[in-house]
């Protein structure tokens, strides 16, 4: 009998964090522009010491100004989607649940498209104009969260099956609205709208937004983590969980809102990147087991690792052009999952 202890948790997370760090370093090295790690290291130190004027080359600026923010965005999005995925799988008691199944991503996409349409009619400063799409997306996500919550209630509480059904229906409905908007309103914007369906990390985001995202992640993921042992019991059945002392309605609401916020934040800046939220929790479960106290941080780190790798591939495989990162996540993720699954069963 070896239950999870704090030490074991920290050691495992430490290992994953090291792997993530290594992946980030490699990702900084690879790209359309070649850099040497040594030069990069020197640049980072100069940056930390605020001696930006003495950076070793233009390429240093490129890496720190374009590549590193993109990598950090991938870390954020990967971690958010994975934590949301593991939460929804527990909340809905369904191993096929992913962050998008409750319609949040469709709501975000619709919000972004509406924001695009509205922006053209407003007179905004450039800073505002850059923010309006993520803000619109997040508002769309928030409205969807509220709507699905209302739909998903039975006897005044969230019910897993009803929630799932309500979410799927909402997602389909919103998709239809999006398609309608795209065909009737725009002969333009179509290629740009594809971004929402294939996912894209290449757009540099204003730094104010990045701070907001990190803050949101910490709060939301933290809230979910406080229910980690409750989620373990929830998977055994809601009645049983209640008899074992779990405040099921409270856990459901906290997890639902926090996981939806994570999804909304991620989708607002990167579109819908598929497979990360679905597969990373399963892979982590195969490695670490179903104890959510380990699974949640493991999924966050694992998702960050996976998405940084996928995004690095997306921007290097057909350099200088970019591939959609969603294609990379599917191509890379599925075979890995199959491999791990077979190993476990054998």
């Amino acid at each position: 009998m070896r239950p999870l202890t704090l030490t074991r948790l920290l050691i495992r997370c430490g290992i994953l964090a090291l792997i993530l760090f290594a992946v980030i370093v490699v990702a900084m090295k690879l790209g359309a522009v070649q850099v040497s790690l040594y030069g990069l290291g020197k640049d980072l130190i100069s940056l930390l010491l605020h001696r930006t004027s003495s950076l070793s080359s233009d390429y240093g600026m490129i890496v720190l100004g374009i590549r590193l923010p993109r990598i950090l965005l991938a870390v954020f999005v990967g971690a958010s989607l994975s934590v949301a995925g593991v939460s929804f799988q527990a909340l809905l008691r369904n191993p096929l649940a992913d962050p998008y199944v409750l319609g949040v991503s469709s709501g975000a996409a619709l919000g972004a498209i509406v924001a695009l349409i509205v922006e053209a009619r407003l007179d905004l400063t450039p800073e505002m104009a850059g923010l309006i799409t993520p803000v619109g997306a997040f508002l769309g996500a928030a409205v969807t969260i509220a709507a699905v919550y209302i739909l998903g209630r039975r006897d005044g509480q969230i019910d897993s099956t009803t929630l799932l059904l309500g979410g799927i229906i909402t997602a389909s409905f919103l998709q239809a609205v999006i398609m309608f908007l795209m065909t009737t309103l725009s002969g333009n914007n179509l290629r740009g709208s594809a971004f929402w369906f294939m996912g894209d990390l290449s757009t540099p985001q204003p730094s104010s937004l990045l701070y907001f995202l990190s803050f949101g992640f910490i709060i939301a993921a933290g809230a979910i983590y406080t229910t980690a042992s409750d989620l373990n019991l929830l998977l055994a059945g809601e009645k049983e969980a209640m008899h074992l002392g779990v405040d099921v309605p409270r856990v459901r609401i906290v997890v639902y809102i926090a996981a939806s916020i994570l999804t909304g934040l991620a989708v607002s800046v990167s579109g819908t990147i598929g497979y990360v939220g679905l597969l990373v929790p399963h892979v982590m479960r195969l490695i670490f087991g179903s104890d959510h106290r380990m699974l949640i941080p493991a999924s966050a780190l694992g998702g960050a690792i996976a998405l940084v790798i996928a995004d690095t591939l997306a921007r290097t495989v057909t350099s200088p052009t970019d591939l959609p990162v969603g294609a990379m996540t599917a191509l890379a993720g599925a075979p890995l999952f199959i491999y791990l699954l077979r190993r476990r069963i054998a």
Partner: protein, 283 residues
């Protein structure tokens, strides 16, 4: 470190007398799926009491209200009228966590979405004693091990829950309930999926545990002989009404049983003073 199985704390309210642990007082219930519809099912007002160390059988045919009564006792449902006290505390008004420290409900089956090992499963019983991010302590591990030992399932500890037999699973589920260190142990038709040997094992364990650890055990069943052989008290239910409460010898009598169960039978007394019911076939 305290002894492996410390006594659960007893309540301290005005309704408790030293003897009575569970007190069901004039409890009734009605269930309507829709406010506008007439209630589908009612439980008429009934009362009984149970002591520490006692095994109570709630006996009756299907749809007699047994499971509903159990849910009311467990605090999951709120009675329409009347109250249920456990050591002086109303079960429904306790916070969920405290309730789980005092009342353990043993389900028939456990559907786990992702399989776990038996010891993990039993560890879940320690959840009511932990905070949100608490990790299990040495004491928790000891209690869980003890619980497995008490049901004779120590060697199952490392086995996967989806790979053990029905009887073995039942024992592990019971162990989880024991790990909660409850005052009250509730079981809903625990013998349904078990073969006869396992049934006997289970009831023997329950009787032993009740005596040893001073649990009050309430078992819902429709098996006449189980109630007859193992219960200290029988609550006979029929269509939402409690017909009789008392020791098996007084409750399990031919005329009333034939009415309730609609089958010809005969009741004999065994040397130990317990009734044994034999069913006759029709015609």
């Amino acid at each position: 470190m305290s002894s492996a199985l410390r006594h659960p704390p007893s309540g301290d309210a005005s309704r408790a007398t030293p003897d009575v642990r569970l007190s069901v007082e004039q409890v009734s219930y009605a269930y309507a799926p829709n406010p506008s519809q007439a209630p589908l099912f009612t439980l008429e007002a009934m009362s009984f009491q149970a002591k520490p160390g006692e095994l109570v059988a709630i006996l009756g045919p299907n749809a007699s209200g047994k499971s509903t009564l159990l849910k009311l006792i467990s605090g999951a449902l709120q009675p329409l009228s009347g109250r249920i006290f456990l050591n002086g505390f109303e079960t429904h008004s306790l916070p969920v966590k405290t309730r789980a420290q005092r009342i353990a409900l043993v389900q028939q089956e456990s559907r786990l979405l992702f399989p776990s090992r038996a010891w993990e499963f039993v560890m879940q019983g320690r959840h009511p004693y932990g905070g949100g991010l608490r990790f299990e302590s040495e004491e928790d591990i000891l209690i869980a091990n003890n619980a497995l030992a008490q049901v004779g399932a120590t060697e199952l500890a490392d086995r996967w829950m989806d790979k053990i037999s029905g009887g073995e699973k039942q024992r592990v589920i019971l162990a989880r309930a024991l790990a909660q260190q409850p005052l009250l142990l509730l079981l809903d038709e625990p013998t349904l999926h078990l073969d006869i040997g396992a049934q006997v094992d289970l009831l023997e364990s329950l009787r032993r545990l009740a005596a040893q650890n001073r649990y009050t055990v309430v078992v819902v069943t429709h098996e006449l002989n189980i109630a007859g052989e193992y219960a200290d008290q029988v609550v006979l239910m029929h269509r939402g009404k409690c017909l009789r409460v008392g020791p098996p010898a007084t409750v399990l009598q031919r005329e009333i049983l034939e009415q309730v169960f609609q089958a010809p039978l005969s009741v004999e007394m065994t040397p130990s003073g317990r009734p044994r019911i034999t069913l006759f076939t029709n015609k």
